[in-house]
Amino acid sequence: MATAIGMTTHTQEETGLWSWLTTVDHKRIGTVYAVAGFLFFLLGGLEALAVRTQLAVPNGVVLDADRYNQFFTMHALTMIFLGVMPMGAGFFNYFIPLQIGARDVAFPRLNALSLWIFLSGGILLNASFFLGGAPNGGWFGYAPLSSIEYAKTSGMNFYVVALLVLGLSSLMASLNFAVTIINMRPPGMSMMRLPVFIWMTLVVTFLLILSLPVLTVALLQLYFDRMWGTAFFSPAAGGDPILWQHLFWIFGHPEVYVLILPSMGIVSEVLPVMARKPLFGYSAIVFAGASIGVLGFGVWAHHMFTTGLGPVPQVVFSASTMAIGVPTGIKIFNWLGTMYGGNIRFVTATYYAVAFIALFTIGGISGVMHASPPVDGQHQDSYFVVAHLHYVLVGGAIMGIFSGIYYWFPKMTGRLLDEKLGMISFWTMFAGLNLTFFPMHFLGLAGMPRRIYTYDADLGWDTWNMVATLGSYTLGIGILLFLVNFVITMRKPADAGNDPWGGATLEWATTSPPPAHNFEVIPEVRDRDPLWYDRDHNIAPAVVPEHNHIHMPPPSYFPLIISLGVLLIAVGALSHLAVTALGVVIVLYGIWGWALEPTD
């Protein structure tokens, strides 16, 4: 039966293109996620530089209004869905199994499927630039501006369909990671011995599993409105544009924590190892992360303080928003407590982690400020909020990701990134991002609204706009220097060793890079910092049995086939339903082959 399909013989190659396209190895999948995420991050950065160039001087002429609106919309969509989330997914993929001593994730083929669907979604979203114009209604896609009446190009169709596709990928990945974390822990690793990075990942997966369906519903409604003339969000026909805002932000606010929690996890791994002491207040950090996840579902309407909710909802959501500041504050103090009394090795990863604490704090402070609705009345939709969110996402999420890159690069490649160049790159990025985003506070206080493609000279906004633009170029140079570092490092021999930092968690117990099966013997965990415990108690590594038969899942074509079908379904939703029908057939074929594929 299975051989009749003709594709069930696995590729036997271990290198080359086909080995990557059919891989189910979490480390390879993680690498592709990380590299693709980084490339999209660069693309989103270029869009930001174009936006900043337009705003450098009053009445700028670099981008016209239409292109400007496409660029700021695509900048946000790219950074959120194609840059930061996939880079996070890259770390999740690579390090969840390694940190919990597993051989792979729970569903390796599903993992590959998530990856290929993510890439399909990313390509589809960006294809809109060449097919009638990119989305231009903001990443928040507010109705009725996103309706066919006010957004006539196909851009917002691409927005709907690409986000649905990307949501599918995130949902699969989240379920996979959650099951992996809960079920595949090694002997002795109780939940309260999980590395904090794994805990934060677990919170992220639950946030996505619970919030993505809400976005999916909203996007389908928008699709129906745009394509088939329904009126969910059209006030003229009795629909309600506020409904979109509720649905969007019930997803959109947890999404903010989806972006920042992985970096909080990374910093919680890097700081103790570099300070050479255990994390301060492990359970407080874990519970703070979990309560941020829970409270994160109860604050969405603070994005809507100006929509005329009325005083009671304003008070309720302002109180919940202030409340979420408390666990966030606890985390900041615990990281400082981790530094306290340490003997901190200040390598580039440490610099990024410490910068994360300082810069995320700035974003956190301004976040608590506009939890107050009267204050928010002045801040909302001004550059003050642009400053706030970029301190959280660049000062927070991106700094954390770079800390993770420098920290785990030796594990992934066997090579340590160059420290001297890393330091230059860090300081350039640090200066650049503060020059870019701090002045935006001043612009917001001076009354500059967001999302304007032009402004007059006599409003006192020109100086800080120029500074912000120069800062953004500096930030760009800093990131470029990282790329140089990457290229130089990859040409050097892989001589980093298995554990260059004296790590506490299991990934440092295997080789760099790890073998396909990760561990010769599944490790046994006796403490929250297992490697330090074993070191301090002179516990020797487990002996590898003579006949060590390790079964690893074989590579598979079917994730690629199903993702191709999903892509066709999406393309059909944008063009002709016949294409969708073809996509459905391919998906069904893929599922058929997947189900009957032999396991070895």
């Binding site: 003229a236 544009p241 002045q378 409003l459």
Partner: protein, 348 residues
């Protein structure tokens, strides 16, 4: 701890650095106290309600500054104190219950400190507008503002005139997408939602010749950046004079060129979208009411100063001035432009 003199110098230096940075930030921040150089500033309240909000606003900024200084100083000092050095050993501990309780309570106290003045300010701002309030309807259009005074029978565009010290109750509506009414000196922003009226009231407390600047704050499409407006707060006497003249029908053109412009206004189809009270055929409601357009200080929703040259530039190619403008480029001849400018300039 502490230890070597080099480390002490580093710690003192980092504290000085935090101090200097904080002072520099304050100096840049203080620019927004200057409403002349920064006319859209959020820091110079000019209404009773904006004053109330300002109290909360300042308090929140002071708290924020305190937290900023504390965390930045701690981060820098710890970075220097515990940077690795020979002979230093990391102390092994997992936490400290007393400290953790303290730093859970401190953020709680901070947010409570913000919540109390916030809710007390909200209690007075969100009360219904007083009975004697002047009623205004502010309607957002892509991309201009329509202002109506239902009790006075006045309809105007992009320039709102208000008497000082009298509460004004603004009903916010939208004809198309979501807009947001924002005059930082007078009030925080409130959105204009299609299909759902919002309300806002405030009492402007300083009459002055220069207008208060406002701008649409919710992204509303192509020319969101060009959806600006002005609020003139005048003495009661000045306001009454303005209201009386704007309540009247148009000034009938007397000059020949302007009379020809009146004809042109019909011939070019302007009447399809614009009302000029007193010109029988001009009763369109899609675009701004032009009965007194000649007395306004700006053109094209605040994007151009009102001069005859700018008016001509606007009429010659509206989408060139305001991208996406519903008023199309009518390819008017130079003569037609001369006539129209003469007519419209006369509509004082």
């Amino acid at each position: 701890m502490g230890g070597s003199p080099g480390r002490m110098i580093g710690i003192i230096g980092s504290l000085v650095l935090v101090g200097v940075v904080t002072v520099l930030i304050y100096l840049a921040f203080a620019e927004s106290f200057d409403a002349v150089r920064q006319p859209m500033t959020t820091f110079v309240p000019k209404s009773d309600q904006a004053n109330l909000i300002h109290g909360v606003y300042q308090f929140v900024f002071i708290l924020a500054a305190a937290v900023f200084v504390f965390i930045m100083a701690l981060t820098l000092v710890f970075s220097i104190m515990y940077r690795e050095r020979p002979g230093q050993v990391a102390r092994q501990f997992h936490g400290n219950s007393r400290l953790e309780v303290i730093w859970t309570l401190v953020p709680v106290l901070i947010v409570v400190a913000i919540a109390v003045p916030t809710y007390s300010a909200m209690a007075s701002i969100t009360k219904p507008a007083p009975e004697n309030a002047l009623k205004v309807i502010a309607i957002g259009h892509q991309w201009w503002w329509e202002f109506r005074y239902p009790e006075l029978g006045i309809t105007t565009a992009n320039e709102l005139h208000l008497p000082v010290d009298r509460p004004v109750s603004v009903t916010l509506e939208s004809k198309d997408v979501i807009h947001s009414f924002w005059v930082p000196a007078l009030s925080g922003k409130v959105d204009n939602m299609p299909g759902h009226d919002n309300h806002l009231w405030f009492t402007p407390n300083e009459a002055r010749a220069e207008p208060y600047l406002g701008q649409c704050a919710e992204f509303c499409g192509l020319s969101h950046a060009n959806m600006r407006f002005r609020v003139f707060v005048n003495t009661t006497a000045q306001f009454d004079t303005w209201a009386a003249s704007n309540k009247a029908d148009r000034v009938t053109p007397s000059v020949a060129l302007a009379q020809a412009g009146e004809q042109q206004f019909v011939a070019s189809g302007c009447i399809g979208c614009h009302t000029v009270r007193g010109q029988a055929s001009a009763a369109g409601v899609i675009g701004p009411d032009l009965t007194h357009v000649g007395s306004r200080t700006t053109i094209a929703s605040g994007t151009l100063d009102h001069t005859p040259e700018n008016l001509r530039k606007w009429l010659a190619n509206p989408p060139g001035v305001k991208p996406g403008s519903l008023m199309p480029n009518l390819n008017l001849s130079p003569e037609a432009l001369d006539k129209l400018v003469a007519y419209l300039e006369g509509l004082k």
